[in-house]
Each structure stands twice: as structure tokens, then as C-alpha cells.
């Protein structure tokens, strides 16, 4: 709506909601293209037909999942909600691209916390993925094979969030910059143990303290990789310590 009004794309504070005060301050209905794409079929064949597909009660119908990363046949797959990640990754997307096993996957786009091979039998519906500690979000499923550096992966996503932060709320604008700098330092093997505390502290101070959900989303990669693969962070830092590479660097320097 802000873009349509010719402004910077910053979120509006809600309430009032767009349904009463939207574009040009008039009532506005905003719908995802996915919702609109489903409508003709629901209207044409009836809601019972739609509800008979997928995983009731809440996750009915089909969804298009975009499988990316280290699989043989990445791409977009429309499947009924409720199939398992194992089926989506190994049957539809052709399995892992090489003989390296799966190490991690992101179930629902960049803002969804990472999951591990033990979550492969989780069903692709909103409730099951939430129960596994993540979310189905955009439906972007990213698969990583054994040998992928999880700290690097979290940094790549963090750089994305840093770049995409609109800059309205300080916790997200400044916090994402700090997170990127701290992560780059760790990946470059110049990190210190206390950086891990800094990361968690920053994440906690971004989460829930911003106008839109972007702030919450931006901490997911770091928090979840720290949860499942903390030893990888520790190893990088220990290597830095043993090689005595640590130089104190002024904070706030743009890399």
C-alpha cells in the first residue's frame, strides 16, 4: 500500500487495520496471490471438495512448495498439505543430489527456524511444523547436505535480512547490522566466545520489539542454528583462539 501511494515501503502500525483504513485511508482488502489462485476451484467445486484434500482440520487443500538447495530436482511442487518432508524431498524432488546425507532443512522460507534430519517425518501442515518448532511460512523448503557450514548458512540469511530490513524500527535496523558484523567475525575466525552471548542477546532484543513480523523472522536462522549446531560456532571460535587471531575491533565498523 505504501508503494502504491508512492512512498517508501515501511509497515504501518496496526490497528487500524487495512480493512477499515487501507490504501488512501480507505477500506482495503489485501490478499495473497496464493489465496486468490485457490479461489476459483473452491467456488467451482465447493468447499467440501477442497476440505477433502490435505490435512484437516486446519491445513486443507494443496500448496505449492519451492524445494531448493542440495536436491536432485529442485523446483516448485504442488502437493496436498500433510505429506511428509521425507516424501517431498526424496520422492518429489528426487532426493539428495549426491551421496551425502541430509544435514538440515528449512521448512518454510528464510524466516522459518532450521530443522534437522530427525524432523523429516513431520507433516507439511501448519500445526505439525509449528509443533516441531518451526513454521510453514512461505513454503520455501531449502535442503542442505552433510558438509554444509551452518554458521555460513545462517550468515547468508542474516545478510539477506540486514539488506531487506526497511529501517523503520531501531531494533531490527541496528540489530541486523550488528548481527551481520558479529557473524562475519565468527565466520572469518576472529570471533570470541562472548560473541555467542552477544548474538543471543541481540536476537532477544529484536524479537517482539518491532512494528512488523520481519524482526521476529530475522532472528530465526541464528537462533535455530545456535540451538542445533552450536558446536560449529564453538569450533570456529576455538580455532580463532588457538591461532590467536583475535584482534579487538571497534564496534560499529561497516565491513
Amino acid at each position: 500500500m505504501e508503494s502504491l501511494e508512492g512512498k517508501r515501503g515501511l509497515p504501518r502500525i496496526k490497528p487500524p487495520f487495512p480493512a477499515t483504513h487501507g490504501l488512501y485511508n480507505k477500506p482495503t482488502v489485501v490478499n495473497n496471490i496464493e489465496t486468490l489462485a485457490n479461489l476459483p476451484y473452491i467456488v467451482g467445486r465447493g468447499p467440501e471438495w477442497f476440505a477433502s484434500i490435505g490435512s484437516p482440520p486446519k491445513s486443507t487443500g494443496t500448496r505449492v512448495f519451492c524445494v531448493s538447495g542440495h536436491v536432485k530436482q529442485p523446483g516448485n511442487y504442488e502437493v496436498p498439505m500433510g505429506v511428509t518432508f521425507r516424501e517431498l524431498i526424496y520422492e518429489h524432488a528426487g532426493g539428495m543430489r549426491s551421496d551425502k546425507p541430509l544435514k538440515a532443512f528449512i521448512p518454510g522460507g528464510a524466516s522459518a527456524p532450521f530443522l534437522t534430519p530427525s524432523h523429516l517425518d513431520v507433516k507439511l501442515d501448519f500445526e505439525s511444523v509449528a509443533a516441531a518448532g518451526s513454521m510453514l511460512g512461505s513454503g520455501g523448503v531449502t535442503v542442505m547436505e552433510e558438509g554444509t557450514d551452518m554458521v555460513w548458512a545462517a550468515l547468508r540469511l542474516m545478510e539477506f535480512f540486514y539488506h531487506e530490513s526497511c529501517g523503520k524500527c531501531s531494533p531490527c535496523r541496528e540489530g541486523s547490522s550488528w548481527l551481520v558484523q558479529t557473524m562475519r567475525r565468527i565466520v572469518a575466525k576472529r570471533g570470541q566466545m562472548q560473541d555467542l552471548e552477544t548474538l543471543v542477546d541481540l536476537c532477544k532484543n529484536i524479537e517482539g520489539r518491532t512494528v512488523c513480523a520481519f524482526g521476529d523472522a530475522s532472528v530465526a536462522p541464528i537462533m535455530s542454528t545456535l540451538k542445533h549446531w552450536r558446536p560449529e560456532y564453538v569450533t570456529l571460535i576455538q580455532e580463532a583462539e588457538s591461532a590467536n587471531l583475535i584482534k579487538l575491533e571497534p564496534a560499529g565498523v561497516r565491513h
Binding site: 488512501y24 519451492c66 529442485p74 531449502t142 540469511l157
Partner: protein, 179 residues
Amino acid sequence: MLKEKHATEIEEIISRYPVRRSALIPLLYLAQREEGFVSEAAMKEIAGLLRLTPPQVYETATFYTMLNLKPVGKFHLQVCKSLMCGLAGSDTVIGWVKTKLGIGPGEMTTDKLFSLSAVECLAACGTAPMMQVNEDYYERLTEETFDRILADLKKDGTCSLKTGPFMWPEPANAVKGET
């Protein structure tokens, strides 16, 4: 001046909206189509057309990364470097640009033909690695297709490898772009 050259198009764009300011982004895009980037002169002119102040135009123009505020090459290569493309080898693609054209992100070749930006996710993660050249997507890049894209762009100004369809199994003649 945009006004002289595109008077009818500008009128048409402004007439689409109940509020003049809404025409801002489409007009910035028009300016970019004209010069390859949005110049300060163009922003001032657009401000006049929409009865805005130049800072109002500037604040919007600086927000959207699809608007170039500096000159770019005739072919602006935007290689996606986010995680999903990174897993599929986007750093390698950036490496090809470096070895084949001698430019890194943010640079332009001396003949002003190519410039490179490393950008964030362009929503083609399922067909990574990918790059956008001006308005076209080129996906599932391999060194072979990449070479062909560069050669075709130089020769014809366009390349038939743009935008899918992408499917599995890959059609045997996919590389030739005759799907």
C-alpha cells in the same frame, strides 16, 4: 527531459491513480528505462510533474533496490547471492563474471556493456543459481549457458535462454534453449 519525449505515457500513468503521488514509482521506472538509471535531473523533473518536493521523490527512489541511482552497463547482471542460490553455486557464478568480464560486484566493464551487482533473493530459489539481466531472468545457470548468454547479449542484445519453462526431466535440448 522526460516530459517532451513521453508526454502521452506520462499522462496515461498519472491518470491511473486517484492520487498523483501514486504515479511516482512507475515514473521513476520510466526514467530508468530511458537512461538506464534514475538521474537527479529526472527525479527533479518527476517531482515537478507530481507536485512533490525533490526530497519526497528522493526518499522513495532510494528505498527500492530495483531502481539504479548510478549508471549501469547496457546489460546489468544481477546475480542472486542469498542462501538458496549460494547452496547451488552463486559464488561460482560471480567468479565467472570476474574471470570472463573482469568485473566484481558494483563494477562496470570499460566499454560500458556489462555491470554486475550481487543482489538478494529474486524469488527463483527453485531454479538456482540465477541472475537477472535488465528485465529478464536466467535460471539454472551452468558455465555453458552462462557463456552462451554473454555471447548472445553481445551479439544480439538478447538471449533465448531467458525464463523457463523449467521441468524435470530436463528436455534433452534444454541447453540450446529450444524447449
